[in-house]
């Protein structure tokens, strides 16, 4: 049996919403969308969703990682390799970025299932994330949200069995973004909707139903891509699905999360599913990929500690003003003349050497005296024993703030910068930045978790590291 073993999601903490001053709600709709913090991108969100999916599971069993996005940080340089390293997966795995089209998430999921079915991998992790951007105050900006989904697929311990798939490829420019463009472009709306989305998806769904001898009535839930609420519900009707069959597209809470969108809706469907139900996920972009799953008879969804789709949705915070968001996206340039000079680009050889320290967040535990020290040392800080350490991964250990400060002169974004000394359960201390924080909640003894973030981009080098965040879910300890 090939199918989904586990799933997870990530939605950034912050929202643009009705209370956000300067955020266009002229239409009167109660539109809310999730937006990545200034230090988040598709790679960091993919890591967060993957951690949500993996939970306490054994990461050593993962044989492959596929990352799907239209907003990978590099045009040349694999993102999956960054994600696999941050997740501390094995070295002898296959990794790939599946990019450039909105249906890439479903394509990645299908490819992973195919690899398992073919026997070339036992377990494959699929992560889809997007942070697509439209011009300021454009319809694309109003409709888009940021988010990520992750699935662990395999043949043992399957919760939702693959029930079938279907694909169509049709070359079409309805949405596109060339290398070097900051914003997504679109052709005339009616062409994109009627000749693109509706015609192609209808053909794909019909092809799938015919192939498998099914009707829309056979499905408990449809996880359907759509650019906005109106077009998505119209499309569902045209496909012959009843409103109660359509998985809540969350347009009023999340926004269209691009490549991740149909997969996040599938996570939502799984979180609400019962045993023995048929689910369908439909993607769109230069054609369509469809995948159908049947929850097993022993299906149980255990709420995972990091919260899944529902948990992340419920823990948002609305930004006070659009200017903050504009600053995060560098739509609003700031005068840094009186600020600290821009740091030099990191040394690439040092970055490579520090993969274990920076991305895997490995500490060393002295085999002689047991002292946990970060970064890992050659000579023990406690007993001076040399080169005799076990590895301890700190990235998924809960911690507590030992002390902190709030720096008002550190830069122009996210002031003040909260710097914290965090003590981990089981030993080890890190001095790191804190993000996603509300100043009023920061205190000595505050419970925190580690979150993978982008520190800065210099010379085209995206430098990732871990920061402390206030624990988002009660049961994280």
């Amino acid at each position: 049996m090939v199918g989904i073993i586990a799933w997870g999601a990530y939605i950034p903490k912050y929202r643009l919403g009705r209370e956000t001053v300067g955020w266009g709600t002229s239409s009167g709709r109660g539109l809310e969308r999730a937006v990545a913090n200034f230090d988040e991108d598709s790679v960091t969100m993919a890591v967060a969703a993957a951690l949500d999916c993996l939970g306490e599971g054994n990461r050593q069993e993962v044989d492959g990682l596929l990352f799907a996005s239209t907003t990978a940080p590099y045009a040349e340089k694999q993102s999956a390799a960054i994600i696999a390293t941050a997740l501390d997966l094995r070295r002898d795995i296959f990794t790939a970025d599946i990019t450039d089209v909105l249906r890439a998430g479903a394509t990645a999921l299908k490819s992973a299932l195919d690899a398992v079915a073919a026997g070339s991998a036992g377990q494959v992790l699929v992560v889809a994330a997007d942070t697509r951007q439209g011009p300021p105050r454009s319809e694309t900006e109003r409709n888009s949200g940021d988010g990520a989904a992750a699935f662990l697929v395999g043949s043992d311990g399957v919760q939702a069995e693959l029930a079938g798939s279907h694909s169509i490829t049709e070359n079409m420019l309805d949405n596109w973004r060339s290398a070097g463009d900051a914003f997504v472009r679109s052709w005339e709306d009616r062409f994109a909707t009627e000749e693109g989305l509706e015609r192609i998806v209808s053909e794909a769904v019909a092809g799938f139903l015919n192939k498998h001898g099914l009707t829309p009535q056979d499905f408990a839930k449809l996880a359907l891509y759509g650019p906005d609420a109106r077009r998505q519900s119209r499309l569902a009707r045209r496909l012959g699905f009843q409103p109660d069959q359509v998985q809540d597209p969350l347009f009023d809470q999340l926004g269209n999360t691009g490549v991740a969108f149909p997969l996040m809706l599938l996570v939502g469907a799984l979180e609400e599913a019962k045993a023995g139900q048929l689910l369908l996920t439909v993607s769109y972009g230069d054609g369509s990929d469809l995948l159908s799953f049947r929850t097993t008879d022993s299906f149980v969804w255990e709420r995972r500690r990091r919260g899944g789709l529902a948990g992340h949705l419920a823990t948002g915070r609305t930004l006070e003003n659009y200017e903050t968001y504009a600053r995060w996206r560098e739509l609003w340039t700031t005068d840094e003349a009186t600020r600290r000079p821009t740091p030099a680009a990191p040394s690439v050889s040092a970055l490579w050497r520090d993969n274990d320290k920076n991305l895997r967040l490995y500490a060393g535990k002295c085999s002689s005296c047991g002292y946990v020290q970060y970064p890992a040392q050659r000579v023990c800080v406690n007993c001076q024993a040399k080169d005799d350490f076990a590895t301890v991964r700190l990235s998924d250990r809960p911690g507590e703030v030992f002390t902190y400060s709030m720096d008002y002169i550190a830069g122009a974004v996210d002031l003040p910068l909260v710097v914290s000394a965090v003590d981990f359960q089981g030993g080890g201390r890190i001095i790191c930045m804190m993000t996603d924080r509300e100043l009023a909640e920061v205190r000595v003894g505050m419970p925190v978790a580690m979150s993978f973030r982008k520190l800065r981009v210099v010379n085209g080098i995206h430098n990732y590291y871990w920061k402390a965040i206030p624990r988002r879910f009660e049961d994280e300890d």
């Binding site: 009186t338 600020r339 600290r340 000079p341 740091p343 030099a344 990191p346 040394s347 040092a350 970055l351 050497r353 520090d354 320290k357 920076n358 946990v372 020290q373 970060y374 040392q377 800080v381 406690n382 030992f402 002390t403 902190y404 400060s405 709030m406 720096d407 008002y408 002169i409 550190a410 830069g411 003040p416 910068l417 710097v419 914290s420 000394a421 003590d423 981990f424 030993g427 080890g428 201390r429 001095i431 790191c432 930045m433 000595v444 520190l455 430098n463 590291y465």
Partner: protein, 390 residues
């Protein structure tokens, strides 16, 4: 181990006006400080047999000192050791004299920070993977303040007020010093209400960024007697380098082991049993007010956790039992990193000679200087002790 006590003496010193010296290059500052020291000692430039130049970022080698002063092909070593740079240049120069290699040497500390175009401290770092928080020193020391308040159950308001009294004290002293960068008094209320730099530290909790230079001429006590009667004797030169606190999850952020160790080592070398009782004055590294508070405890001036009580009692004011930073400290001089250590020695030297003008203490026979470089958890600390000639 013989130690340095009474084996070398200072016979001349110079110190520039510290501040935003838009008018002066680093070379100009060195000329200013060294020629004052020549005149103070009454020596000719050609009598200097070797020199040590302390600077963190203004120069890379000893050569600029030779170029500025036209020294006569003598050996010059550039020393860099964070905020202890100048004191370490002085220390190495002293050791060369004590070893009998040279009779008369020169130690210079200089820093020209104000050409960076940035109002904070801009010191380039070696290439690396660059993931440590991009925080300038205020945020690093502020973490010590947060923890100090927490550990001793001090409310934010109480803690801020204690720190403010330290700033006000140093400004009071600096207002009496025409070489200081800042020469105005500030009230504790001004300090408390100043704009926040790195919570809980505000503007007046932080020292300034300045330009400056200071110089000392060092010789043996025997030779010193032939120059002047009021030479100053070196009693101790200690240096402690640590990088362990940051790796230890049992380190408390409220004491700096490097200061403790350098202090103990200096007291032993100088034969001091009770620093608070025996010292007449101390110039300590008040880069931030919280640093000075913690130093009181690290150097044994105050019991652990009781520094606030001594601040409230005025123990470290000009009239107190142990005046600290009588020249105004880093608070008023700013911190041209490579110059600060010798600037502190300059004040002790003048006090011990009875030449500190309006700042002159009634009794000044034994004085201490202290520098702390790096960040909480990883410091280079120097402690030096000086005594008046017998």
């Amino acid at each position: 181990m013989r130690g340095i006590k009474d084996r070398v003496a200072i016979i001349g010193m110079g110190c520039t006006k510290f501040g935003e010296r838009w008018d002066a290059s680093a070379a100009d500052l060195m000329v200013e400080a060294v020629y004052e020291a020549y005149a103070d000692a009454g020596i000719e430039p050609k009598e200097v047999q070797a020199a040590w130049l302390g600077t963190v970022s203004s120069f890379r080698t000893g050569q600029p000192l030779a170029e500025a002063l036209k020294l006569d092909y003598i050996p010059i070593t550039r020393v860099e050791n964070a905020c202890a740079t100048a004191t370490d240049a002085f220390r190495n120069a002293s050791y060369a004299v004590a070893a009998g290699i040279y009779d008369i040497v020169l130690a210079v500390g200089v820093e020209k920070l104000k050409d960076s175009g940035f109002s904070g401290l801009a010191v380039p770092e070696a290439p690396g993977s660059d993931v440590t928080p991009p925080t300038p020193p205020p945020a690093q020391f502020a973490m010590a303040a947060t923890r100090y308040f927490h550990q001793y159950g001090i409310s934010y308001e109480e803690g801020k007020h204690t720190l403010a009294r330290i700033a006000a004290k140093n400004h009071h002293n600096g207002a009496l010093n025409d070489r200081a960068h800042f020469q105005q008094e500030v009230s504790p209320e001004q300090v408390v209400n100043a704009p926040m730099i790195a919570w809980p530290l505000g503007l007046f909790d932080c020292c300034g960024v300045s330009d400056g230079a200071a110089a000392a001429i060092i010789t043996t006590p025997e030779i010193a007697r032939s120059f002047r009667r009021d030479y100053v004797l070196v009693k101790a030169l200690a240096l402690s380098v640590g990088a362990f606190g940051a790796l230890r999850s049992d380190w408390d952020f409220t004491h700096f082991p490097e200061s403790v160790r350098a202090g103990q080592s200096a007291y032993q070398e100088a034969g001091i049993a009770n620093s608070r009782e025996e010292l007449d004055l101390a110039m300590v590294h008040d880069c931030f007010t919280i640093t000075e508070l913690i130093i009181y405890e690290d150097l044994g001036f105050s019991p652990r956790g009781r520094g606030s009580d001594d601040v409230a009692a005025g123990t470290f004011s000009m009239e107190g039992q142990l005046p600290v930073n009588t020249d105004g400290g880093l608070k008023c001089f700013g911190h041209p990193i490579g110059a600060s250590g010798i600037r502190m020695i300059y004040e002790v030297y003048k006090q011990l000679q009875g030449k500190a003008e309006t700042r002159q203490l009634k009794k000044a026979d034994l004085g201490l200087t202290h520098n702390l470089g790096g960040r909480p958890g990883s410091f280079t600390c120097s402690v030096a002790i000086f005594g008046a000639a017998e």
